[in-house]
């Protein structure tokens, strides 16, 4: 009994530790003063208005959304067939290939970012937006391959063979039989990849350029020059958006689909 109570208190503490910063950020967004302070003095919504009317914030936000979407779609386009090939055929060095695809999640982001900067920006002089897209594609590809791969590992490939024997060609079978049975894996992969690209700082820092600034980079840049509650206000808006997305996901797929 005592042990349980201790566990209960511990759980509350851990949650408080995780949630308190978010609560504080949320509160500071409503302060009237020109600097972020806690506790706040006065109460206002003006910083939300400022955040939403800020050109640099909004354009960076849309740029980040676009970047995350395109990088994720590209990763799905490459990653799904890749994961399929890895799961379906016994390829030589299969484990090695799998670890290779996992490596961007193990190598520190700054190392990856610097390496990409050296090659893409310095050596090849590829335009900034394409370089950034490529960087993000590399960050999210492992998520796609691993998550889609694990849902393909549970797929019974005799189902695919059954479709072949019934007169369905291989490519058609992939679209009509295999894909519909791994949709939960694909949507989880999409969400995780999208969020990882949207949140990424270390790789972006090396690859952004004029006109191609991601939201996290803009927020950090803004904090360096000023310290008014626009950033907390914008963070609150993003939290609300995330909660909204999670709500929709829960209603349609179930959160459990993400952790599979």
């Amino acid at each position: 009994m005592r042990k349980n109570r201790f566990l209960g208190v511990w759980t509350v503490l851990v949650f408080a530790f995780l949630l308190l910063p978010l609560v504080i950020v949320t509160i500071t967004a409503f302060g009237e003063a020109n600097v972020v302070q806690f506790p706040i003095q006065g109460f206002t919504f003006k910083w939300f208005g400022k955040a939403l009317s800020s050109n640099s914030f909004m354009s960076a936000c849309f740029y980040s959304l676009r970047l995350a979407l395109v990088a994720t779609l590209l990763a799905l386009l490459v990653g799904i067939p890749g994961a399929y090939a890895l799961a379906r055929y016994s390829i030589k060095g299969k484990q090695l290939i799998k670890s290779f695809f996992l490596s961007p999640t193990i190598v520190p982001g700054t190392v990856l970012g610097f390496a990409l900067f050296q090659v893409i920006v310095v050596q090849l002089q590829i335009p900034y937006d394409i370089g950034l897209l490529f960087g993000h594609f590399l960050i999210v590809l492992p998520y796609v391959i691993r998550i889609v791969g694990s849902s393909l590992e549970q797929f019974d490939f005799s189902i695919e063979e059954a479709a072949w024997t019934l007169g369905c060609g291989k490519i058609k079978t992939f679209f009509t039989i295999v894909l519909p049975n791994i949709t939960s894996g694909i949507s989880s992969a999409f969400l995780l990849a999208f969020i990882n690209s949207f949140n990424n700082v270390p790789v972006s820092m090396f690859l952004i350029g004029p006109g191609t600034t991601t939201l996290p980079a803009t927020l950090m840049g803004y904090l360096e020059s000023g310290y008014d509650p626009t950033v907390p206000a914008f963070s609150v808006l993003m939290m609300l958006a995330t909660i909204g997305i999670m709500f929709v996901v829960e209603k349609t797929l179930g959160i459990a689909a993400l952790s599979k």
Binding site: S158, T165, L166, I177
Partner: protein, 345 residues
Amino acid sequence: MAFFNLQDINVSYDKKNNILEGLNLEIEKGELVSLLGPSGCGKTTTLRVVAGFIEPTHGQFILDDTDMTKVPVHKRNFGLVFQSYALFPHLSVFDNVAFGLKLQKVSKEEIKKRVENILEVCDLKGFEKRFPKQLSGGQRQRVALARALVVEPKLLLLDEPLSNLDAKLRINMRVEIKRLQRKLGITTIFVTHDQEECFSISDKVAVMNGGVIEQYDTPENIYRTPKTEFVARFIGFENFIDLKRKDAHTYIASDGSEFVVDNGCDKEDPKGTIRPEDIQIVSSQDNVENKITGKVIVRTFLGKSYQYELDTPLGVIVVNGSSDHVLQAQDTVCVSLPKGKIVLV
């Protein structure tokens, strides 16, 4: 030429070891042939060659005078039922069965008619809207069968389709499969490792071992007169006794005793074999053929009988005895091997 012909098929994954070696198999139209053997004997590989999943490294597959060796899977029009049934989880029973017909561009009304018809034949009426995970094992099995049969395949291939069912359902299903196969007159290959299942259902049985067919014959002939030691062991023969030929019906054992048999063979030193249940326990005074005396070492209760292992001058002999008269360990007994029951391999 027979309707179905596998000619000199070799299959190898690494170019060194052959999974199948010089395999030949002929099947007449409308026959049900079983491939029987232990796991790893090549029976499933043979089926996969026929289905088109594996291209043989050597040899030809001819069906109805057409060379099918290089025809891709989806152009063969064979029905295949998998061990795991392999139903499409995201499609209803109706859509599962209709899948093949839709690809053949059959009209909507025709699809509806044929699917309903086959579902009725397979005793699945009323299940059209259910999904595979809402069905029992036996029902899934029948859906898989219906899906394979509805396209009117040239060949029906069954890969251990009954091994995931419980014992009672298995017997019902094999009667069902036999009935459907007869009714539709469809040439069928049935892969199994269960000899009872295979004997009860097949017109012919091919016993496989190590990538070759050891014997291809009717179930009765295989049961009564296995041709090789492997086949004999696989279908329940025990007691392999080394013999030397004296004349066509007389053979000498290692201790000098003579054995008379009804069915002789040409081999100089064959092995005589007999099932434990065919050996008779006799009294020492009886004047019977092929008498051996031995001592009981192990007794096992089998239900309707006891099984004894006897230590004899010819090695260990396994005998089934009735449960009326129970022998004890260390008892000395005489047994007779009826000459009509001994098979030489």
